[in-house]
Symmetry: none
Subunit: 122 residues, 4 copies
DNA sequence: GTGGTCTAGACCACG
DNA sequence: GTGGTCTAGACCACA
């Protein structure tokens, strides 16, 4: 899996990392139980400090995407909890509002949603 | 329109403000050409620093939601540009990925999208 | 409130800090809503790095003892969740086992528990 | 006796092992003078490094739970010293503090203590 | 002035 | 060789 950092992006590196790994998991590029590269390894590869990668992993761990195994390092979680729908809804409403302000109707909005959903899987 | 800020929330106040105003515009609580409260007025009402409100207004202005008028202050824009689809898509893909990781399929995802779209309008 | 660090103690500084603050809250030395010293302030007072104090505060925050307020910094939480009984029980069973191995019976164990409970409040 | 280790657990394996053996001794699953499995045997059974088991045994030895016999290996100690009350009290105070913060009173705390004490013996 | 981010590098615990 | 802890210091975002 290819992970890249955009230094021009305003969002912090650890968040970019976290997002790309989530996208990778969703795309099926990682199997459940598979190990991610070690924090120091990935940090070296990306040319960032290992604390930064560590923070991403910690975040993914808190969110249930990965599990820190004492021996295998960071491992893709098997089953992920479904509780966080509230936050998904909150974010979706904001995106919907931005779309509405730009004159996008429900049908078109759903079409965009579907298109992006499928793009994740490719 | 009711705006509430949460200092416990991790997202900055100016962003919370900006988001709620966007939601308000989408819900039709403001007409095009209508004025928002003055920076100082809103700041006083919310009990926040007026620099904070100022930053929100500047943000909304940069994004095309409002225009700053020397006399009428912040005014809801008439027509808003549709350019930012790239960012909409980027955010949607991330939300889709998070949903996929939690076992939500395309149909259910679209149902959630539709539900939240309609909730904005109420 | 007096916080001290024992460099001879094997447990990490951030944990010692966390524990002492929990003891302080239980003893009523902090009111709900009261602010803790800023991370950098406390770090300077204790002669440790601010990241270390930061970690303690983050931990206390995750556990619900404090809340990070964007303006007031770290604030003692009003109501704390009661969910963590499982961990309390697990730890208690281990302590009980150690006591049993040393020939301490239930009555004496409970007497020790009560004594220490009351000592926290003083 | 059934010993299970959890590599996802944040506490080190040697400590998990040590804790479970202490619980086993308290529950009467070992007689004084009885031998524990050899370091290599237990390590193989659990699928862990034998250094890890070794460290647990050394720990138990230092604490007086077992004695290392050149022929019989690790043997459950006959009489265990009662000195460590200080540490017991320190840990109990912390648990009491956590309980107090969550609104648990002395009576309820003692009830929980008693319940867990008895559970160790079963 | 507050916390957040990031870097850099040291030492230790663990397995 | 892995992650965890701690230090030190820089810069930025926020209010």
């Amino acid at each position: 899996m290819i992970i890249s950092i955009d230094t021009l992006n305003t969002s912090p590196i650890y968040e970019q990392l976290r997002d790309q790994i989530v996208l990778g998991i969703a795309a099926g590029q990682f199997e459940a139980g598979e190990s991610l590269p070690s924090v120091r390894r990935l940090a070296a590869d990306l040319g960032v400090n290992f604390h930064t990668v560590n923070k991403s992993y910690r975040m993914l761990c808190d969110e249930g995407y990965i599990v820190m195994d004492r021996r295998k390092g960071a491992v893709i979680a098997g089953e992920m909890p479904r509780n966080e729908e509230l936050d998904l809804s909150r974010k979706l409403r904001l995106l919907a509002a931005e779309a509405i302000c730009r004159g996008i109707g429900e049908d078109e909005f759903l079409k965009i949603c579907g298109k992006n959903f499928r793009e994740v899987l490719t």
